[in-house]
């Protein structure tokens, strides 16, 4: 008797669930249509937001690493989800490992775009984005010490090269987000896998540290951007 009651209860629940589900799908369609309309309206209304920003993470790193410098950026919303981005910075860094001692200091530029994957309906500047950058660094490199190794890889002696102006370029893939803090102030955080493309070399040496790219040059490197951006209009 008890089992029968449970059985009937389950059937009723299932039935009501199908009913509500059908209703849901109708509601959803209506909802989507409304939202899409709202989305397109807001998007068209607000094309063209100019942002200026600075990197606030690198100054924190001063205390812990040899890296010193700063970075600023400008971002302009070109069309709906597309933002053109330009970044520029200065970096001073040292590579001091594996018997090497290399000083670099110089400027770098990054040009590219951000494409917003998701945007707030109220504020299209708020959201998550993916993007890409092409970067170029022009810097001065001084090889204070390079290791000369004998058989068995023991360091035998050291040599050095004077300062020389060199350059490097690379490609960055960007994934990040911009969140409004208060008023027109936004926090902007992004992770960037960097793919080294090439460089003008000093004495045939592969670069060990590049301003804006980082240390431990492999085929791929990583950098982070933690910034504060301000919406001008």
């Amino acid at each position: 008797m008890n089992q029968l009651r449970i059985f009937i209860f389950i059937i009723i629940i299932n039935f009501s669930a199908t009913l509500t589900a059908q209703q849901d799908s109708i509601n959803l369609e209506a909802g989507t249509v409304l939202a899409e309309k709202a989305d397109s309206l807001t998007s068209k209304k607000k094309a063209g937001n100019l942002f200026i920003g600075v990197d606030v993470f690198t100054p924190v790193l001063f205390a812990f690493t040899d890296k010193q410098g700063g970075q600023a950026m400008v971002s302009y919303r070109v069309y709906e989800k597309w933002n053109a981005v330009a970044e520029a910075g200065y970096e001073k860094n040292i590579y001091d490992e594996l018997g090497w001692n290399v000083d670099v200091n110089g400027i770098y530029f990054k040009l590219g775009f951000n494409w917003f994957v998701s945007q707030d309906h109220e504020d299209p500047s708020n959201g998550f984005y993916a993007g890409a950058r092409l970067a170029y660094a022009a810097y001065e490199q001084t090889v204070n010490q390079y290791p000369i190794r004998v058989s068995g890889n023991q360091i035998d002696s050291y040599g050095s090269f004077p300062s020389e102006n060199v350059s490097a370029y690379w490609f960055e893939i960007v994934g990040g987000g911009r969140i409004r803090l208060l008023g027109n102030l936004y926090a902007d955080v992004s992770v960037r896998p960097e793919i080294y493309l090439g460089s003008k070399k000093q004495e045939g040496l592969e670069p060990l540290v590049i301003p804006g790219y980082g240390k431990d040059i492999g085929p791929i490197n990583f950098s982070l951007f933690w910034g504060l951006t301000y919406k001008l209009f």
């Binding site: 849901d24 509601n27 959803l28 209506a30 909802g31 989507t32 409304l34 939202a35 490992e97 594996l98 018997g99 090497w100 994957v117 998701s118 998550f128 993916a130 390079y146 290791p147 000369i148 190794r149 004998v150 058989s151 068995g152 890889n153 360091i155 035998d156 002696s157 040599g159 893939i173 994934g175 992770v191 896998p193 004495e203 045939g204 040496l205 592969e206 060990l208 040059i217 492999g218 085929p219 791929i220 490197n221 990583f222």
Partner: protein, 174 residues
Amino acid sequence: MWKMLYFWKEFIRIMKKRNLIFGLIISLIFAVSCEEDDVCVGEGTPYLTVVFRNIQTQENSVDTLFVERLDQNLENPDTLYTWALTDSIKLPLGGLDESVSYFRIKKRASAIPDILTVHYNTKTSYVSKACGFRITYENLTYEATYNNIQSLLPGESNVLENESATNLYIYYNY
């Protein structure tokens, strides 16, 4: 109710896209962290390859070898091989400022040792971050005391840039 449902649908849609992006980034981080290029393998300064031969048969002869590296006063031996049963050895030559290396070579434990002297000029060349600069050797010439060594035969090239070629053949009576 409508708004609520729409919110969840939109939320799931956004999360899916977001997960795709962050999934890609995280997998890239893993791919990169496996990379290890701080160890110098195979491209560093080459050793001098020496092969031992029997003067009668003209064939490589395997025997028990004792090899030490000596300083310029033929003192302070640095053991390279002891009781090594082989027919070929690899000798480390000197650094950038050196032009001569001395080795005490003995074939079989009870034999009288010979001194092998190697003269050379050094040159540096860039290899990589991990290897730094390596030394290559030119104008290799050899001398020996002939206690047990019968003769020396230099290899085809008197330049040492890699270890694949034999640089010197040492002939013994046994």
